[in-house]
């Protein structure tokens, strides 16, 4: 059932996300070309590649901001489903199937907010998108909108000042404060998010995404613009999210110190096509990847390949 994920399978952990034959065209431009890869449950998976390779486009397809031209993106929440359920769902007109122990979601059929709300996939953006005019705490409260809004009886209980809502709100503040503690911003809870230094904004955006309670967190260049110390802190923070919250991570990153140190599995894109897929050690030594990153000519890559095949 699972599409083979390429050159070097990354262990036997069950997948949480399966991308199969994903293609995205913008007019004549093929931004993503027949891309298939898996994100294993509990892993940190990195998507790397030169600028313009189509990494952000892949994210936008996974999180529903773009409708892919072709391909299937399946997300599994909870227990791994029995073989055949995915194909049965694909052949039905439904977008997802949920049971007691989780569910399957066909992300390419779902809208952006639905993907976060139901499939529990959260994301951050390459250019930070905080609510700059709202406080740090408010940013984290907005992220908990869906369950809080339900707890407020769709505003009717809230307007009446019901105790159940006030309790729920206090609980939401608790959750927010825990995250603020973890990113070291508790003291700045009442400052506008736009007034924070860049590194803090990056971490706040991640914390905000985590406040939606995701099973899969997609980070678009989380270390961009950070200094080495902040980068190291970020590594620790991401590891703690993986181990402490059981959230699987998919990240786009240019900073190799981050990628090589924390990822379990790397997928390399170039011009929208996957050129390599495997463990960090495998990627580090893959001549195609080296060629792509060093900007070697194509024929030299072929040479390197033939050499490797010998």
């Amino acid at each position: 059932m699972s599409v083979s994920s390429g050159d070097a399978p990354a262990g036997v952990k069950p997948p949480i996300l399966q991308v199969e034959h994903l293609t995205m065209r913008f007019g004549g431009l093929v931004a993503v070309n027949d891309l298939s890869f898996d994100v294993a449950r509990g892993d940190i998976t990195a998507l790397i590649g030169p600028n313009g390779a189509g990494k952000t486009t892949v994210f936008n397809c996974i999180t529903g901001f773009y409708k892919p031209t072709a391909g299937r993106i399946a997300l599994y929440r909870g227990a791994t489903p029995k073989p055949g359920t995915l194909d049965a769902l694909t052949n039905s007109p439904r977008r997802f199937a949920t049971g007691d122990d989780g569910g399957i979601f066909l992300l390419e059929r779902m809208g952006d907010s639905e993907i976060t709300a139901r499939a529990k996939v959260a994301r951050t953006f390459q250019n930070i998108r905080l609510f700059t005019g709202m406080t740090v705490l408010e940013n984290l409260m907005v992220a908990q909108h869906n369950w809080l809004n339900r707890a407020s009886g769709y505003s009717f209980l809230g307007l009446a000042g019901a105790k159940s809502f006030r309790d729920a709100e206090a609980q939401a503040v608790d959750i927010a404060v825990q995250w603020l503690d973890r990113i070291g911003l508790k003291g700045r809870a009442d400052d506008p998010a736009g007034a924070l230094p860049y590194g803090d904004q990056r971490r706040l955006e991640i914390a905000r995404a985590m406040c939606t309670g995701p099973v899969l967190l997609c980070l678009d260049e989380p270390a961009a613009g950070l200094n080495p110390r902040e980068s190291a802190e970020l590594n620790e923070f991401l590891m703690s999210i993986r181990s402490g919250n059981g959230t699987s991570l998919l990240l786009i990153e240019h900073d190799m110190s981050v990628v090589m140190e924390i990822s379990d599995h790397i997928v390399v894109l170039e011009y929208g096509t996957k050129i390599s897929d495997g463990t960090p050690q495998f990627i580090q030594n893959d001549p195609k990847v080296i060629a792509a990153y060093l900007g070697v000519e194509d024929d030299e890559v072929d040479e390197a390949e033939t050499e490797l095949e010998k």
């Binding site: 406080t135 409260m141 909108h145 809080l148 809004n149 809230g158 503040v173």
Partner: protein, 465 residues
């Protein structure tokens, strides 16, 4: 461009080095430009003589006056303008600092204002007598409060959710017409019409919002504008139902729990053993609209602190980020739109019952523009700012009527109210220059962990759709 920058520098330090030749040349150029412009427009008045021939009356005196005004106005601006600008900017900053709620006194301030509002009709009678009070309660009090309420209603849509709505008056019209029709056809009392008007307006808000709210920015503004006009044109042309442009009259006045305000034996005055006076009804209407406006404010302030209100503001800040957090933006926009519309509908019901007569003339685009300018001038999202802007703009218009002594200066045909739009426009331009984010641009956080601090207007986004 370069030249005007030079001159700006000169004007900024008049004492240091005022470049007179340059200033004179600049003013001269403007005078020349004015001459060129006014020649085809002002220089000749056309009229028909007795033989139906066209006669041109030259008006060189008028042209000369206009050119002279342009010359000296420009020169005066170059000489004193810098000081003027700085003075005005400092003044505006001072005002806003004074207006920004001073934390420890905010609640005292609130109670004083409430007490003053409650006492207002009595104070009006006390100071201006029964005759004068009619004007002060009706034209000033009630009229301003209607616009405060409309401003607060629109503030939910524009100020909080950041959706530019140019057709808000449509919901005002829906409220007014549903009240008028329900009460004249079915004899429903005002107290039944009021909630129904709100429901109808909210319903139309949803009907309009559903197809339109996926548009953003300019497109949304244009479509809402068109919707406002459509409602008005339907009202004008559906003569069988709405009586067209002649409007609906004979709408029953609101009663005091069943007691009408008239001189009959069953009337309010007789029941309470009071001498009948038309003031009773005005007092009642004043407190009614005050209560409605305060209800709007109360609901808005509470909703702002609920998840839905926070989602509105988040939507204004960044719609894409909202979607990435799983917020259903269509539903969120629809709630803002329909709740704003509902308060517009309430205000419309009040409007219909207050006058007993409505016609499409009351619901022209100009009304939407006035309400929107109240919101923009007040500072988008700020309740106090909107109230102050409504007082200034509507009170200011009413005050224009009072300036009858100007007739002595400009002749008996001079009508100061005709300059209302000019003054509106000038106020808008002045605000955009000195306080581009409105009177009160600071935003108060909706939830606080340690200590409440206002957020500077420069951080807050206005939204774009």
């Amino acid at each position: 461009m370069a030249q005007s920058e030079d001159i700006g520098g000169v004007a900024a330090e008049p004492s240091a080095s005022l470049d007179w030749p340059k200033a004179l040349r600049d003013a001269g150029l403007l005078a020349l430009f004015t001459l060129g412009l006014s020649f085809p427009i002002l220089a000749f008045r056309t009229r028909q003589d007795l033989t139906q021939g066209l006669v041109l009356d030259p008006r060189w005196g008028l042209v000369a006056t206009v050119v002279a005004i342009a010359f000296f106005a420009r020169l005066g601006w170059l000489v004193f303008g810098g000081a003027l600008t700085r003075g005005a900017a400092a003044g505006a900053a001072r005002v806003s600092r004074a207006l920004a709620p001073v934390k420890p006194y905010a609640w005292i301030f609130r109670y004083i204002v409430l007490a003053l509002l409650a006492a207002y009709p009595f104070l009006a009678v006390l100071f201006t007598g029964t005759g004068g009070a009619l004007k002060w309660i009706d034209n000033f009090g009630i009229q301003i409060l209607i616009y405060v309420m409309l401003g607060w209603g629109l503030n939910i849509v524009v100020g909080l959710a950041g959706l530019l709505d140019l057709g808000y008056v449509a919901f005002y019209a829906v409220g007014a017409y549903s009240t008028a029709l329900l009460s004249t056809h079915f004899g429903f009392s005002f107290w039944i019409c009021l909630p129904l008007a709100g429901i109808f307006a909210a319903f139309w808000g949803i009907m309009l919002g559903f197809p339109v709210l996926r548009l953003r920015g300019d497109y949304l503004a244009i479509v809402t504008l068109a919707f406002g006009e459509i409602i008005r044109l339907v009202i004008i042309n559906w003569v069988e139902l709405t009586n067209g442009a002649s409007g609906i009259s004979g709408i029953p006045r609101p009663t005091f729990f069943g007691l009408p305000f008239n001189a009959s034996d069953e009337g309010f005055a007789a029941f309470f053993g009071l001498q009948f006076t038309p003031l009773h009804r005005l007092f009642f209407l004043f407190y009614l609209i005050l209560a409605l406006a305060l209800l709007t404010n109360w609901v808005t302030v509470r909703l702002r602190r609920l998840p839905i209100g926070r989602a509105w503001e988040a939507l204004r800040e960044d719609e894409i980020a909202c979607r990435s957090l799983g917020i259903d933006t269509v539903i969120t926009k629809l709630t803002a739109f329909s709740i704003g519309a509902m308060f517009g509908g309430f205000a419309g019901a009040f409007f219909a019952a207050r006058l007993g007569f409505i016609s499409p003339k009351s619901f022209e685009f100009m009304e939407s523009a006035v309400i929107l300018s109240i919101v923009v001038l007040g500072g988008m999202g700020s309740q106090i700012g909107v109230a102050i802007a409504a007082i200034v703009m509507i009170g200011g218009t009413e005050l224009l009527r009072e300036l009858t002594w100007l007739k002595a200066v400009f002749g008996p045909s001079f009508d100061p109210t005709q300059y209302r739009m000019l003054l509106f426009g000038m106020a808008m331009v002045a605000m955009m220059v000195w306080r581009p984010r409105g009177l009160i641009s600071n935003r108060e956080p909706s939830i606080v962990l340690h200590e409440k601090r206002a957020i500077g207007g420069d951080m807050v986004k206005e939204g774009h759709g």
